[in-house]
Assembly symmetry: D2
Homo-oligomer: 342 residues x 4
C-alpha cells in the first residue's frame, strides 16, 4: 500500500528496481558470477561453480529472514549467503569465497543502476521527441523572451525549445556515459583483493566482462561512482524543473504564451486550470538538488568501510532515481499537452 502521493510523484517501474525481488536477484547474480569466474579460473572446482549457479537459478529466498538479517547485520548479505550456502548443498562452502558483503551489494547496485539508466535514457528520448515535435509544429511562432522576470525581446518558440533540448541532449549522452562507466566492486574484506589470491585481477576482469560492467580497482571507501550517478540524476531533474518553471510562467493567465492541457482542478474555484505537471517538475528538481547535497556527505567514508556513510547512500540514491524517472514521464506528458499561443 503506497502513499497517495505516489500517484503524483512516484514511479513504479523505477521503484521496483529497489524492491526485494530486484535487489535479491541482483545480489544472486553477482554471487553466481563470482562462483562461475572462480570455477573458470580454478579457484573453486568447476563442478561446485555449476552447483552454485544452479542453486542461484532455483533460489527461493526466505525474505523475512533476510529482513531480520539486514536489521541485525546492517547489510543483507551475511544472511543471504547463509541461505544460498544451504541451497548449494555440498558446494555451500564455495559460495562467496574471498568476497565481502560490500562487493556483492555495490556490484548488485550497479547492475540495477544500469537498468535505471537505460529506462531513464529511453524516457529522455521521449521528452526530446516531444520537444522536437513542438519545434516542428510550432517552432516558428513568436514568443517574448523573458530575462530577470521582465519581457526582454521577441524570439521564437524554436529558440525557447532549443534552450530546453540542448541540456537534455547533453544529459542523454551523460546517462549513456554513466551506464558505460558503472564499475564492478570486488576487493574482499579489507579492499585489497588479497582474499582472492593470485588470480585476483583476472577474476575481476572476468566478472566485469560477464556482468558487462567496467573492471575497476576496489572503491569500497571512495563513493565517486555513486556521486556521479546522483549528479547525473540531479542534472536531469534540474533541467526538467527549469522547463516546468518556464511552462508555469508561460501559462500564467496574464501571459498566456503557452496553453497546457489537462491542468488540475481546484476544490474551491471551478474556473481554474492548475499547471500541476509543471509544478511537480519544479518540486522534483528541488528535491533532487537537496538530496544530492545530502548524498555528498557520504564521501566522508571513514576507514575501509563506513556503515554510516553507506546506509546514507541507500536512503538517498533510490529516491533520486525514482524522482528522476517520474520527472521524465511527467515532462513528456506535459510537453505533449503544451501549445504555444499563435
Amino acid at each position: 500500500m503506497a502513499p497517495l502521493l505516489d500517484a503524483l510523484t512516484g514511479d513504479p517501474e523505477i521503484a521496483a528496481l529497489f524492491l526485494p525481488d530486484a535487489e535479491i536477484a541482483a545480489l544472486l547474480r553477482v554471487e553466481a558470477a563470482l562462483a562461475r569466474a572462480q570455477g573458470a579460473l580454478g579457484a573453486i572446482e568447476p563442478a561446485d561453480a555449476a552447483r552454485i549457479e544452479a542453486a542461484v537459478a532455483d533460489f527461493e529466498p526466505d525474505e523475512p529472514a533476510l529482513r531480520q538479517g539486514l536489521a541485525r547485520d546492517g547489510v543483507v548479505v551475511p544472511e543471504l549467503v547463509r541461505q544460498l550456502r544451504e541451497a548449494a548443498g555440498e558446494a555451500g562452502p564455495h559460495v562467496h569465497v574471498g568476497a565481502t558483503s560490500q562487493d556483492i551489494i555495490d556490484t548488485g547496485l550497479m547492475l540495477r543502476l544500469r537498468t535505471v539508466l537505460a529506462v531513464l535514457a529511453t524516457r529522455l528520448d521521449a521528452v526530446l521527441a516531444e520537444i522536437a515535435r513542438l519545434d516542428a509544429e510550432e517552432g516558428g511562432r513568436t514568443l517574448m523572451a523573458q530575462t530577470r522576470m521582465q519581457a526582454a525581446l521577441p524570439f521564437t518558440a524554436a529558440d525557447k525549445l532549443a534552450t530546453w533540448a540542448r541540456p537534455l541532449q547533453a544529459h542523454r549522452e551523460r546517462l549513456r556515459d554513466l551506464a558505460h562507466a558503472l564499475p564492478i566492486q570486488l576487493g574482499g574484506p579489507v579492499g585489497n583483493g588479497a582474499s582472492f589470491g593470485a588470480s585476483y585481477e583476472r577474476l575481476r576482469a572476468d566478472i566485469a566482462r560477464h556482468l558487462d560492467l567496467r573492471d575497476a580497482a576496489p572503491w569500497h571507501s571512495d563513493r565517486t561512482p555513486i556521486l556521479d550517478v546522483a549528479q547525473g540524476l540531479a542534472l536531469v531533474t534540474g533541467t526538467l524543473g527549469k522547463i516546468g518553471q518556464d511552462l508555469a510562467l508561460l501559462a500564467q493567465n496574464e501571459v498566456g504564451a503557452v496553453k497546457l492541457s489537462g491542468g488540475g482542478g481546484s476544490s474551491a474555484m471551478a474556473h481554474k486550470q492548475n499547471p500541476v505537471g509543471a509544478e511537480v517538475l519544479v518540486a522534483l528538481a528541488r528535491f533532487n538538488a537537496g538530496l544530492l547535497g545530502t548524498l555528498s556527505q557520504s564521501m566522508v567514508h571513514e576507514n575501509e568501510r563506513s556503515g554510516a556513510a553507506w546506509t546514507l547512500e541507500w536512503l538517498v540514491l533510490p529516491q533520486m532515481a525514482e524522482a528522476t524517472g517520474r520527472a521524465l514521464t511527467g515532462a513528456a506528458d506535459l510537453l505533449r499537452g503544451a501549445r504555444f499561443a499563435d
Copy 2:
C-alpha cells in the same frame, strides 16, 4: 512490499500515518469538523451538518479514483470532496463550503503530526529511561573524555550520559511544545477567510477547539509551522546521531570503553561485531539534516499557494518523521545493550 532497507531504517508505525487510510481519515475528520461547526453557527443547516458527519462516519473511499484525482489535480481534495458530496446525498452541496483544498490538507496533516509527535515523545521517554538506567547502574565508572579526537581527562560515565540526556530532555519539551502549537489551517481559496462569511473567526475558533489544534490565522503561504516541526525532528535525530557516533567510537576494539550487545555479523570476518545500531543513528541524523535544508527551500512559497513548494514538503516531511521514529527505537535498543567497561 517494502524495500529490504526498511528493516534497518524504516518505521512502520510512523509510516502508517502517511499511508492512505490515515491520510483520508484525517481529511474526512476536517471536513466533518467544518460541517459540524458551520452547522452550529448556522452557516449551513444543522441537519445537513449531521448528514455530512454521518456520511463521513460511514465513508468508504474509492481509493483508485482518489489517486487519479491527485495525479490530475495535484491534490487529493477535489476528488475526495466529490466522493463525499455524493455520499452525503442531499447534504452534498454543503460539504466543504468556503474551504479550499489547502485548508483540509494542511489541517489534516496537523492532526497526523500530533500523533507523530506523541509517538515520538513516548519513544524519547524510553530513550531517556535507558540513559537513566545506565546512569544508575554504571554512572560511577571512570571513562576517558575525548576532545578533538584525543584523550582529554578522565571523567565518569555519568558525566558522559548527562551530555546525552540534557539535549534529549530539551527536545522532549520541544516535542510537547510543538504538539501544542500545531495550527489549524482555514483561509478559503485566497487565504483571507472571506469565503466563510461573517462568522469566519468564530468558525475557526470552533474547529480548532473541536480538533484540539491551535487557532491561527491562515498560513497558506507561510510554512513556518512545517519548518518548526522539521527542525524539531532534525534536532532529535541529530542528538541521537551524536550518541551513535559516540558509541561507535567508544566501542572501537582499541578503545573498548563500551560494549554493545547484538552487533552485526560480517559475511567475511566471523570475529566481527559491528556497531550497526550506532551507525544507523549517524546515517539517520545526516539524512534528516540534509532533508531539513531541502525542506527549507519550500519557504519560498510563491503567491497565495505554490503547488511546487507544497509538493516539496510532502516529499520530505514524512520521511523525516519516519527517520526520527526509527532513530528513537534504534537508540533505545542500542542503549539497552550498552555497557561501560569496568
Copy 3:
C-alpha cells in the same frame, strides 16, 4: 578588499561582528567576566581579578600571532590566553582558570549573536513598518490573488500584505526569544564543570548575569542553541524570499500589479527595469535554506568536543547572519519603492 558581489549581497554591519576586532573583544569580555566572577567568589584573588580586568581593558592583541595560533591550534584561544597572561603580569596564571577554549569561544559567539539579533530585529521592524505604510496607503486596492500560478479570485492589497506581515511578526518575536535564550557556555575541559571547583554553579550564574546571557548547563557537544539561531535566520530570509518572489511575479510586464522603483538596468536592453532587489531576496533565501541543512550536519558532534563539527559551524553561521542582514535591508528598500497598481 571585498568581492564586488558584496555590493549586492553583503552586509558590512553584520560582517563586522565576525571580523577580528569584534571577535577578540568578545573573547576578552568573557575572560574578564570569568576572572571578575572568580575574584568575587574567592576562586582567585580579587586583586588578580582586577589586574586581569585592567589588562583586558588595555589589551592590544598581536593579531598575526593570533592567526598563527588559530591555524596551529584550530582555535584562537590558546594563543589569546598566552598573550593575555603576558599582559596581566603577575596575575597571568589566574587568567582562564578552569576554562576550556570552547567556553570562551561559544560564550563570545553568544555575545555577538545578541548584537546580531538586535540589529536584525531593528531592521525587521523597518520592514514591517514599510508593509504597514503600504497597507495604510494602498491596502484598499484590488489585486488578483494567484494560486498554483493561476489567477484565483480578486482580493485586496491588504490581504496580500497580511500574508507577508504575519510571518514576519512571528519571526520578530522569535528573534527576541532567541536573544533571551542565548546561553552561556562554561564547562571546563571535559564539560562537567569539575575544573571550576565547588563554586561552579554560582560562578556560572554570576557570569551569566554579568554578561546578560542565560545560565545554562554546558552544551559543548549539543549544538541546539546554534541550530535554533540558524533556523530563525533561515525563516526570516525564507519569508523575505517569498516576498521577493511575489514582487517579481507581480511586477512582470504582463501582470503589472506592482511597480518597483529603482529596477536594474541591462547592458543590452535599454528598456528593461529588472526587479533586482526582489531577485536577491530569493537568492538569499535559497542560500540560507541550504546552509541550514549544512549546519545541521554539525549536530553529529562526536565525543566531548568535535573540531570538525565546530569548524563547520564557523564556516556557515556567520554567512547566514550576513545574508539575513542584507535581506532585511534589501526588503525594506524594495518595499519602500513598491506601489500596487490602481
Copy 4:
C-alpha cells in the same frame, strides 16, 4: 581585514581570483576578445577593435562606481561597459556590440575557473606526491584495517594509501577534463545569437579559440557547466575529508597507528596534540557537500535568465573553490607530517 577563521580555512590565492582586480580583468579580457573578433570578422571596424583593445589594456576601473552599478543592476557589466565605452573614446559605441551582461560574466568566470582548476591540479599533484612518498617510505608497515568502526584484518600502509591515492588520481584527471571543457558563453540578450548577425558562429569560434575556451552554444539558462565544476570540487574535498577522518581515527591515543606532527595545543590540557589539520579536512568536506546541494537549486533557472538563480551561484561557487584550495594545501601539510607506527 579578513576574519580570523581565514587562518584556518581560507585560501588567499584562490580567494584573490574572486576579488575585484581579477574579476574586472577577466571581464575586460572578454570584452577585448569580443571586439578583436568582431574587428577581424568585419562586424566592427578593425581600427575600433584596436582602440577597444588599447582601452582595455590601459583601463583603470572606477571601482566604487562599479559597486554601485552592481548594487543597482544586479550585475556589474552595465556600469563596466559604460566606463569602458568612455575610455574607448570614439570607439565607445562599438564596445559590447550584440552582447549581454551574462555573456561577459559567465565567460569571465570560466577564465578564472581555468586558473582555479590549474592551481588545484598543481596542489593535488603535491598531495599525491606526499602519498607516494609515504608509500615509498612506510608502505610496508602493517596496519589494522577497520571496517564499520571495528578492527577487521591486518593489511599494509600501502593498501591504505592506495585507497586515498586512487580517487585523488581520478579527481586529478577530472580537474584536467573540467578545465578543457570550460565553455565560452555568447548568446546575446535572449540567448539565440541573433544580435551578433550572420557571423555569429564564426565569432563564437574565434573568441573561444582566442580565450582558449571550448566553443559552445549558449547556456544562459542551463547551468550544467557550473554544476560540473562544483561536483569536481566537492569530490576533491570529499576524498580529502575521508583522508582527514581516517587520520583522526588512526591518530587516536588508543589506536596510535599514525602519528601527526604539529598537532594543535589546548588552552586547558597541556598534554594534548589535537589533529587540527585532519579535522579541518572533514569540516571542509561537509561544507562543500552541503554547498553542492545548495548550488544545485540554481538549475531551476527560470526563463531566459534568472537573476535569483544566477546570484545564488555567485554566493556559493567561489567559497567552494576556496574551500577546495585550502583543503588541498592542508592535506599536503598533514600528510607531510604523518608517520605510520612501526
